[in-house]
Symmetry: C2
Subunit: 308 residues, 2 copies
C-alpha cells in the first residue's frame, strides 16, 4: 500500500492554514505545523484552534522561521511544504526556500499565494508591492529548481462577499446597494474549505508539478450585477442600485491612502479590471475543474444563503 | 444672548468623528464637516452616515486637506476646529495648522489624539512612531501659538473591551480567559459618545485653553482582574484564568510584526505598563471629572452589560 505523503504547514493559525491542516489530517496525511512557542499564549482564539487541531492529530513543532536549524530539521521529515503565511510575511518564505534546498527531500512546495495570479494582476498601487513580493518568491523558487505548485484560487468567499461587496458593512444590504463599475465584469470567489481541500489533492498530483493551478468553478464566477440579483431573489426584494463609475472608483483609491483603500483596490481589480478571469491560462497552468471534475464546490449562491 | 461657537470637524466619518458631529449639533453649535466628494460613494456605510448627519443639520463642505484654498476658506468661517483624523493621517494635520494660522480667527484647535498622552506613553515599538507623530503635531501647534486643547481620553470602550481583552475573539469568553501581566495594573476605557460630549463641552471652556484634559472617571478605571471579575459576576460563572507574564507578552510583541501585534502592544501599554494612569497630571493638564463633576459617564461595568 502506498504511504501518504508527510506535510508541513507554515502559518497554520491563519485564515487558510487551519483549513489546510483539517483537510490534510482528514485525508490521512501525517501533518506537522511549525508554531512559535508564544503563539499558544498570544490569543485564546489561536490557542483553542491549535488544541483542536492537535486533538485531530496535528503534530506541533515549536519554532519560528528565524530558527533556521529547526526549520531545516523539520523539513527533513516531510515530503510536502505548504506555506499559508499572511501578506505581511511573504518575504519570510525565503528562509523556507533555503531550508528546502538544504533538506533536499521535498517533493513539492506550495508557497503562500491563494489569491490572484501575481504575474497576471493589473492592480493599481499600493497593492502592487503585495503581488510583486509573491512574484519575487515565484522567481526564487524557479531559480532554485524547487518542485512547486502555485494555487491561484482568486478571492476567498469570506472576503468582500459577506457584505455583498459593500465596504464598511458587516452584512449584505437590504435596501440600497452600491455597484462599483458597470457591474458586468465577472469575479471569482471560492470558500476557504474548498481551496484547502483542493490544495491537499493537488500537492501529490504529477499533473500539477511546476504548474499554476487556477480555481475557477462555474458556480463561483459571477458579475457584480449577478451577485446582487442572486441576493434580491433570496430576500424577495429589489434593491435601489447606485452605480459608481470606474473613474470615481480610481479617485476613491487615490484619495484614500493605504490601508483604508484596501478593499476598494481589490474590488477594482476583480469587478472592473477582471483580473481573475480575462486571460488565457493555456501556457501558464491548469484548470482545477479539469483535474478533479467531481469535486463539489460551494457556489456563490450557496454561500449567500448562509448570510440570510 | 451669547451665540454658539461655530465648529469644523475634520474626519467626520471616522470612529469618533460621527459622535463629535452628533454632540456638537445636539448642543446647538453650527457644525461643518470637510468631506471629500468621493467619500459619498466610497462606501454605503459612510454615505448613509453623512445623510443622517446632514438631516440633523451638519453642513458639508466638499474638499480634501490637499485643497488648501478650500481649507482656509472653510476655517475662516468657524471658531473651533476639531480633527478626528485616523492614525494614518496624523501628519496631514500640518495643512490644518497652516490654514488655521492663515485664517487667524480660530479660538481653539483640538487635534486628533483621543488616546493616551503621547508625551507620557512608554509603549514598545512599533507604536512609538504612532505617538511620536502626535507629539510632533503638539510641538508645531505650540510653536505656532495656536490656542489648543489636547484630549487625553485613553482607550475607547469599543477597543479591546468587546472581547474582554482577548485578541482574536469577537465577544467575551465564557469559559477560559487569558490575563496579560499580573492583572493588577489599572487601565481606562471611555465610551466614544462620552469622549465626544466631553470634547464639545471643553472646546469653549477657558479652563481648558492650552491644556491637556485627562478623562479618568472613577467608574472607567479597572484592572484586568477587576474587569474579569465584573464579567464573572454578570454571567454567574467563574472563568479558568491563564496568566501570561510580562516577558511572554514582550516576546509575543517582538515575534509578531506590525500590524499583527497591534492589539498586544496596546494591552501591554495599558495593562502592564499602566501608561494611562500612573503619572502626575499636576503640571501638564486638568482632570475632566473636576471640570464637569455632573457629567455621567457610561462605566466599564455598564458597557459590559451591553455584551451579555
Amino acid at each position: 500500500m502506498e504511504s501518504k505523503s508527510r506535510v508541513l504547514i507554515v502559518g497554520v493559525t491563519g485564515r487558510l492554514g487551519r483549513h489546510l491542516a483539517e483537510a490534510s489530517l482528514s485525508s490521512g496525511h501525517p501533518t506537522y505545523a511549525l508554531v512559535r512557542a508564544t503563539t499558544l499564549t498570544s490569543s485564546p482564539e489561536k490557542s483553542q484552534l491549535l488544541q483542536s487541531l492537535v486533538s485531530s492529530g496535528l503534530q506541533l513543532v515549536q519554532g519560528s522561521l528565524e530558527d533556521y536549524p529547526v526549520v531545516v530539521e523539520t523539513i527533513k521529515q516531510v515530503d510536502v511544504v505548504i506555506s499559508a503565511l499572511g501578506s505581511f510575511q511573504i518575504m519570510d518564505q525565503k528562509n523556507i526556500i533555503r531550508a528546502i534546498k538544504e533538506a533536499g527531500c521535498v517533493k513539492r512546495f506550495i508557497p503562500s499565494e491563494f489569491g490572484s495570479d501575481p504575474e497576471k494582476i493589473r492592480l493599481p498601487d499600493p497593492s502592487y508591492t503585495f503581488h510583486a513580493k509573491k512574484s519575487e518568491i515565484r522567481r526564487i523558487i524557479r531559480e532554485e529548481g524547487i518542485p512547486f505548485t502555485f494555487i491561484s484560487c482568486n478571492y476567498f468567499a469570506t472576503f468582500l462577499l459577506p457584505s455583498l461587496v459593500q465596504p464598511g458593512l458587516k452584512c449584505p444590504p437590504r435596501d440600497k446597494v452600491f455597484i462599483y463599475g458597470d457591474g458586468n465584469t465577472k469575479a471569482i470567489f471560492v470558500k476557504e474549505e474548498d481551496v484547502a481541500a483542493f490544495t491537499i489533492k493537488a500537492m501529490d498530483d504529477t499533473r500539477t508539478l511546476n504548474k499554476t493551478v487556477y480555481l475557477r468553478p462555474p458556480g463561483n464566477i459571477q458579475s457584480f450585477n449577478e451577485i446582487v440579483q442572486l441576493w434580491e431573489v433570496k430576500i424577495g426584494k429589489t434593491l435601489e442600485k447606485i452605480y459608481v463609475p470606474e473613474e470615481q472608483v480610481l479617485k476613491i483609491i487615490e484619495e484614500n491612502s493605504y490601508p483604508s483603500n484596501f478593499e476598494m483596490v481589490f474590488i477594482y481589480s476583480a469587478f472592473i479590471k477582471g483580473d481573475h478571469i480575462y486571460f488565457s491560462i493555456k501556457d501558464s497552468g491548469v484548470e482545477a475543474t479539469e483535474l478533479y471534475p467531481d469535486h463539489k464546490y460551494t457556489t456563490i449562491s450557496e454561500y449567500l444563503d448562509t448570510l440570510l
